[in-house]
């Protein structure tokens, strides 16, 4: 059975702060889509990812070919953000009236905010920007859910579960389970599935 994309290529940006599991999330998502027979191109900047900087992965999903590992400005279809100000940072360059945004609500303060040199926008302000500039948006507290499971780093999987539930992409729990069985150690599979399900429930 041939699965169709709403658009070709479908442009997805996964963003967050170094250490939040951004790269892993983009890998899991990409592998799920490759398993479905798509061409997936990922562009990543993770050389500095461990040092608290902004991290971004560009995913291009296509039935036809490999695409540029950098998405042209103003052409993101889906933005998944593990940190809310990073969602804004991506929107400010890749946003367009048709974009969908799924953002974690848990804030990681940049150093400039901690020192008092900059202000961090209030959650209500971020939500209103989403409302104004996107076609669809969701803000969920993935980190708190992950912490209840005992590990904040699972928030990336909670977000993947939520992304699957939005039905913006041809991915589901079955595909996720297939991927986890391939790439995650046996004793960590269950907790990943629980995190995925918890994310799906938040949409």
């Amino acid at each position: 059975m041939k699965i169709f994309l709403a658009k070709d290529p479908m442009n997805i940006i996964i963003t967050g702060v170094g250490g939040q599991g951004n790269v892993m999330a983009s890998r899991v998502l990409a592998d799920m889509l490759v398993a479905k027979g798509f061409y997936v191109t990922i562009g990543e900047t993770f050389g500095m990812s461990q040092r608290g900087g902004s991290v971004m992965s560009h995913l291009r999903v296509s039935q036809k070919s490999t695409w540029s590992p950098q998405i042209p400005f103003g052409q993101a279809d889906i933005v998944m953000a593990l940190e809310p100000s990073e969602a804004l940072r991506v929107l400010s360059r890749w946003g367009n009236p048709g974009v969908a945004v799924l953002s974690n609500s848990r804030v990681v303060y940049p150093i400039g905010v901690i020192t008092g040199d900059y202000d961090y926008p209030h959650e209500q302000k971020i939500k209103s920007i989403f409302k104004k500039l996107t076609a669809k948006s969701w803000m969920i507290d993935a980190t708190s859910v992950a912490m209840e499971m005992g590990n904040s780093v699972l928030s990336n999987i909670v977000m993947i579960g939520a992304l699957a539930q939005t039905k913006l992409l041809p991915i589901d729990r079955h595909a996720f389970e297939g991927e986890i069985n391939k790439s995650v150690a046996a004793d960590k599979r269950d907790v990943n599935l629980v995190a995925f399900d918890a994310g799906a429930k938040m949409i």
């Binding site: 490759v34 191109t41 040092r51 360059r93 940049p110 901690i114 500039l133 904040s152």
Partner: protein, 647 residues
């Protein structure tokens, strides 16, 4: 099963560096050596992960020059070998390479240079393609992920055809990007190493492997390069896509091919613009270029970072005026594209649209204005030392000691995460005032210390990490000792090549392939040179500053302080807190304290944040690594650390 060993014909998602590793495996590589450096490190990491199954010798060498030498020895013995590095590594290896390209090689040998246009994770964006021209060796540049694998495999064959080392150049957007790759076959045979050296001096395949007699060997080297150029003429890796009579011809290579193709597609110009993608970029395939240059009078060259291809194409065009008529070139030299930073699809589309007089897509004006408004409210996210990073503590110790010393001493920096102390507003106190290449901090300190006869009276320190120590610091240290340079040299030993992902180095007892190996002790080396050596824990502020101050007071010799504390992100530490850290709100005086918010303005740990409403410091438990160092710096003792029971 390891994805790298996927069966033939299977389609998998490979990172560029994985594709390069797989290509080497399909070529039957036997020996691989490298020094880690972003964005190159995953090539060797991947090969090391299958070393046992594929019968490979894989090592993390002390530096890139040694890596090329180790790989060259395998080639001389008839095996296939590979050496991998980031752009800077080619500089380090260049002295040996100059002689290697003259002596020639035997078994296929490939130098992979993964470069970083835009310096996304480097302190330079130097490009090594010019080395290919200067050292007269063939250069290949893959333009997508399938090609990263296929071209790597072919590079070994090419090296054996021309009996010389071949350079394969990748960039961050190729090495650290991923795409679909169809795997080929993995060979079964295991060759035997045999080094033949008793033939005549002028026979590079049977005689000794040397670069003399220079006249003979240099001539031979140029004939080999010419042969490579002839092979490039028929290579399927150079490809033209577009109409038979394009209005403009784009000539491009590497990731820029993907940007160019996307730009043409964004503007809908597929029927008007041709793209000649070159994957064999030095020497240029002359006949092929003559053929395609004839197609259009406008030529756009899209490449990163410097105009390497553009220059070479222009030289070619000027050399054959009867065959190639006058062209208008759009590239770096006429300013169409900048010679600084990386390119992207938009930059290509924008310039192409201007030349072709078509409209470049724009967002609705009101929406674009809103985006600008949003951009203005986003706080920048500067890089900084991680929560629990020993380097932040080490620099705090050094800064405290220098303040106590009071003579305005300073630090010469070096390459590693600790370079951030000079680069970014990572910390609110600055002691590092020079930063160059691996090992240069200690060479510079050695020089500064000899300026006392010209009235220079500031104490000088240099720092380096444990991996950097072995890479390039030793000659500078020996120089400092021999010339009695009065410097304090601090080794920030965090037990691994941490910045690039914890690759082992000669100071550890583990090899790239997890074998137990003897460790080479930094302290013993320094003591053997004749330095005064002390060791301390950077998290012990009092003991460390005391040792530093006693060193700064002592005149006339080389002093070495080794600060030992494992990196906060190391597998053994990650996720395990030594301390629970909390701020006692009753004790924290906030803005009223008079410390000018030492904790959040000056110390700058991402986990130690500021509660604006309460006007007090607060610890973010999600990101705090539990090192407990901040408890030592609060003048009110308001930061409380409690030891976490061992789990």
């Amino acid at each position: 099963m390891n994805k790298l060993l996927s069966a033939a014909n299977k389609e998998v998602l490979f990172m560029g560096n994985e594709a390069i590793a797989r290509g080497a495996l399909e070529a039957g590589v036997n020996v691989a050596a490298a020094y880690p450096g972003t964005p190159s490190s995953e090539v060797i990491e991947n090969l090391a992960s299958v070393a046992r199954q594929r019968n490979l010798y894989v090592e993390w060498s002390a530096n890139e020059k040694v890596a090329v030498e180790v790989a060259a020895a395998a080639s001389f013995a008839g095996l296939r070998s590979m050496c991998v590095m980031k752009q800077n590594g080619v500089n380090v290896a260049s002295d040996f390479l100059l002689h290697l390209t003259a002596s020639g090689t035997r078994g296929g040998i490939v130098l992979v240079s993964c470069e970083d246009p835009g310096a996304l994770s480097s302190v330079n964006e130097g490009e090594s393609r010019y080395f290919a021209r200067m050292l007269e060796m063939p250069l290949l540049e893959p333009a997508d992920f399938q090609e990263a694998k296929d071209l790597t495999k072919w590079a070994f064959e090419l090296s054996e055809k021309v009996h010389n080392i071949v350079m394969l150049r990748s960039v961050t957007r190729m090495s650290h990007a991923s795409g679909n790759v169809i795997c080929g076959k993995l060979p079964a045979k295991i060759p035997r190493a045999r080094f033949v050296y008793d033939g005549p001096l002028t026979d590079p395949l049977k005689g000794p492997v040397i670069s003399t007699p220079v006249g003979v060997k240099h001539k031979l080297q140029q004939e080999k390069l010419k042969k490579a150029g002839e092979l490039f003429e028929k290579s399927p890796f150079n490809k033209y896509i577009g109409p038979p009579k394009p209005q403009i011809l784009i000539i491009t290579s590497s990731a820029c091919f993907l940007y160019s193709r996307e730009a043409v597609s964004m503007l809908g110009l597929q029927k008007r613009v041709g793209i000649l993608k070159l994957s064999c970029t030095w020497p240029l395939p002359e006949k092929l270029l003559k053929k395609y240059l004839r197609l259009a009078s406008k030529i756009m060259v899209v490449e990163e970072v410097l105009p390497f291809m553009e220059e070479n194409i222009k030289v070619l065009a000027a050399s054959y005026p009867r065959e190639i008529d006058a062209k208008t070139f759009h590239g770096k030299i006429d300013g169409t594209f900048p010679s600084v930073g990386e390119l992207n699809p938009d930059m290509v589309a924008q310039e192409l649209a201007k030349i072709m007089k078509v409209k470049y897509k724009t967002l609705p004006a009101s929406y674009a204005r809103e985006l600008q408004r949003v951009a203005a409210v986003i706080p920048p996210r500067e890089q900084t030392f991680c929560p629990g990073c020993p380097h932040r503590a080490s620099f705090w110790d050094i800064n405290t000691a220098l303040k106590l010393d009071g003579r305005e001493g300073f630090v010469c920096g070096d390459i590693g995460c600790y370079a951030m102390a000079a680069l970014f507003p990572a910390i609110g106190f600055h002691t590092v005032h020079t930063l160059h290449s691996m090992g240069s901090g200690t060479g510079l300190a050695s020089g500064f210390a000899k300026l006392d006869m010209f009235g220079f009276d500031k104490p000088v320190l240099s720092v380096c990490g444990d991996s950097t120590f072995y890479h390039a610091v030793l000659p500078a240290l020996i120089n400092a000792r021999h010339h009695q340079a009065d410097i304090t040299f601090v080794v920030m030993d965090n037990a691994g090549t941490a910045m690039t992902g914890f690759q082992p180095h000669p100071g550890l007892t583990l090899s790239a392939t997890d074998e137990t190996v003897p460790a080479v002790d930094i302290g013993k080396i320094c003591a053997a040179i004749g330095a005064k050596v002390e060791t301390s824990d950077p998290f012990d502020l009092e003991a460390t500053t005391k040792k530093l101050n006693s060193f700064l007071e002592k005149k006339g010799n080389l002093k070495v302080l080794i600060l030992k504390q494992v990196c906060a992100l190391s597998p053994e530490k990650k996720g395990k807190k030594q301390y629970e850290v909390k701020v006692n709100e009753k004790l924290c005086l906030g803005d009223e304290c008079g410390c000018n918010r030492l904790c959040t303005r000056i110390f700058r740990c991402p986990a130690l944040t500021w509660d604006k409403a309460k006007r007090k410091a607060v610890v973010d438990e999600v990101i705090c690594a539990g090192c407990g160092f901040c408890a030592l710096i609060c003048p009110q003792k308001a930061i409380i650390k409690t030891e976490v029971a061992a789990r």
